[in-house]
Subunit: 328 residues, 2 copies
């Protein structure tokens, strides 16, 4: 089966990520989406919540279909048992609780219920496929598809196979999210080794740790640190990766020249980066200060605030696609 064929996707777990994933799949013309979630009011919740994600997905002037349209036309099904949800799937994607026992149990069940060829994807941000598959008979089918929030807008999907995952399963996932070629707003990347946090969150958390340390040391406030990031690294990294930026920064000598020129400052910084913890009792002085200053700076984000931020994210991604849309 090719990734360009019609797909029937079962989504297990319809929290925020699941809802956004449903919207992602439903914008493709040749998909059917089957939904399974244990909350008793799932139908009502879906009718109320999914339209926000479908509207967000609109790229042109064609109105999005309503949830009722999708149900009536047979493109969206709500199931009350895992068995019926999995029965006809070509892809089964899980966004349940981040809990190892849950994941191991659900995949063993899914394996016994799903068609033999179906692909198994977990949206986990933290539990490797090799750990999740412990109770499965065939360990070649499962891989991580880690999205960034919200997946229907954010282009990145980290595809992280376990050492047992079959290479054709990896190829299929990458191809699916790259469709249609040259037009997909998504950019799947295969991670070659399982590692905690995968790549995107490792990079984010490395920066966050230093950010928390700088707040702890009163070098800068939460609000000013955010301004610094938005006024420099954010727009730079929206247009160029970190290595590409430093290749450019080094002029004709590229990143090699950059590392020589800035090596002294860089080594001084690397040697003195802050070391703080988020769990435990030691090196926790930053935490209360960061939470307090963040609350003071931003309060609780309103629905309008979140919507405005998503619009902005779409702006930046649209500016990128003027480049990536041409497949460069």
């Amino acid at each position: 089966m090719s990734a360009t064929d019609p797909q029937r996707i079962t989504l297990i777990g319809l929290g925020t990520i699941g809802m956004s994933m449903a919207a992602l799949h439903l914008t493709r013309d040749n998909t059917i989406v089957d939904i399974f979630d244990t909350r008793p009011d799932i139908e009502e919740y879906l009718l109320k919540t999914l339209p926000n994600f479908l509207t967000n997905n609109e790229s042109g002037s064609n109105p999005s279909p309503t949830v009722n349209d999708l149900i009536t036309s047979g493109r969206l099904h709500i199931h009350t048992t895992l068995a019926s949800a999995c029965a006809s799937a070509t892809i089964i994607q899980e966004q349940g609780p981040e809990n190892l026992e849950f994941k191991q149990s659900i995949w063993a069940q899914v394996e016994s219920l799903a068609p033999k060829m179906a692909h198994f994807w977990t949206s986990t941000s933290g539990i490797a496929a090799s750990a999740q598959q412990a109770n499965m008979v065939d360990k070649t089918r499962l891989l991580v598809v880690h999205p960034f929030n919200p997946p229907h807008i954010m282009p990145l999907l980290e595809i992280v196979p376990s050492p047992s995952t079959a290479p054709e399963r990896v190829d299929f996932a990458r191809e699916y999210f790259s469709l249609p070629p040259g037009e997909s707003r998504h950019r799947p990347v295969v991670i070659k080794k399982e590692i905690p946090g995968f790549v995107g969150n490792r990079l984010a958390f490395a920066l966050l740790r230093e950010a928390c340390y700088l707040i702890q040391e009163d070098v800068v406030s939460v609000k000013d640190l955010d301004t610094i990031l938005m006024a420099s690294l954010g727009p730079r990294w929206a247009g160029n990766g970190v290595f590409e930026s430093y290749q450019q920064g080094g002029g004709e000598g590229g990143i090699k020249a950059f590392l020589e020129k800035l090596g002294g400052t860089m080594q001084e910084v690397w040697g003195g980066l802050g070391e703080v913890n988020v769990l435990g009792n030691e090196k926790m002085e930053w935490k209360e200060k960061v939470i307090r200053q963040t609350d003071e700076a931003y309060g609780t984000l309103s629905k309008e605030g979140v919507w405005e931020k998503e619009e902005r994210l779409k702006d930046f991604i649209a500016a990128q696609s003027r480049r990536y849309g041409k497949g460069e």
Copy 2:
């Protein structure tokens, strides 16, 4: 003297940063720029190079003045001695070599040559004002104004006073780069303590260190890591700072809820972040691999490539200013 008054700015050192700074100052109507650089062909070099920066600075349909226009109208002066360059300055800004002896020597000279009230700014990325001012009599006048490349486009300016810098000197620099109010494309931020790398580069280098470690460990390639950054964190941080993003990511519970939910993965990542060096003999395995993969991925950037990247950077910053332009 207020920052809104006409200013006469002496620029010492006209490399890439100095040239971009000249363009930044010359886009303001009430400035005169005096230039001093030791290269013998400075006039020829300026006539050839500065127009690229002035064109980049155009925001509307008014054509930029030519360098000859600026010289003829008395807005731009080229000097052959430091004494004549400094004689009438209200601001003296230095972008010379990143070398402590040079900085200490130039500021002692400048202090003896410049008008009593002139402000002293250094564009250093690594040498604190408290170290640079060692040979000055009055240590209240000097502060760091660290720009991000290229300063005529990039909004951030890190203003880093030494413990001896007078508060009104800090206020003046911040006010100058904020002009005109609500319209300036620049966003100056005051850093409260001197620290190696200041804030922007500490955050960048924290992320870079982990990026280099992930290349060393073959978790991902240079090209794929750059794609990951551009497809997730770049556009996110172009629109929201890191703390604001996690405040949003935590939903109603804000960043506190986020830290609780992701704390396990985050602690595992923080505890296992890569430790590599850029100088010395140990932990250097990443370096050759990063340079080779970066060269393979990007080669030497062409003039057109650099121009295209600057256009893109301006796109992202324009998208931001739809928010910041309103002073929100």
